[in-house]
Subunit: 120 residues, 2 copies
């Protein structure tokens, strides 16, 4: 049990779209992700996801709407809902979801699918 810093942890992340686990609890993982550009459309069969913006701005796109998130704003994407994440400029985002969730959900993408469980 120790104090961990979001800013210090984000400083360790050099890649876009590749989640890094900073905490595990109750079968869930708190992950830090740097977003830039557009992520592929996908859905998660069973996993709900929470996105909370720490720095910058991001956009959640759904089939019928867009949700814009700035610093200190958050949104839950329920399981089964198709979505993609976008950021016109680099955004630092906290993601909360179950352990071993594949970042690209029901698809596998050579560029975007990242290894799960990578801790920093």
């Amino acid at each position: 049990m120790e104090a961990l810093s979001l800013s210090e942890k984000f400083a360790l992340v050099s890649e876009h779209w590749r989640p890094k686990v900073v905490a595990q609890l109750n079968g869930q993982e708190l992950k830090l992700v740097k977003f830039q550009g557009e992520f592929p459309w996908h859905r998660h069969e069973r996993e709900d996801e929470l996105f909370l913006v720490w720095r910058g701005r991001m956009r959640l796109e759904f089939c019928d709407r867009r949700v814009e998130l700035g610093p200190g704003e958050f949104c839950v994407v329920p399981h089964g809902v198709e979505h993609r994440t976008c950021a016109d400029e680099e955004a630092h985002v906290l993601v909360l979801e179950p352990e071993a969730t594949r970042n690209t959900g029901d698809i596998v993408d050579a560029r975007f699918t990242a290894p799960s469980g990578v801790r920093i």
Copy 2:
């Protein structure tokens, strides 16, 4: 699915130590709590808890150490570990834990035990 703001949600919280649920996902709840003073010593039999400071400073006290947390700092308290939370001045804190977790864990306190599942 909508954008929710931590600052706007915290502005709705007028009481200290009484968690307000702002998101539910995967059987977990994201709660906002305003800390001020000292909370009773307790432990949670089965629930891990994550504390993330949004504004102000707080302190996690354990039997053998203290962990100081400022804005953007976080700490996980594993289940079974006796602890108490303290804040010399008001602190705004995000707490992540399973649904229906009692805030005072294994104790019931007339002043501090709060209803669970209160949404804002």
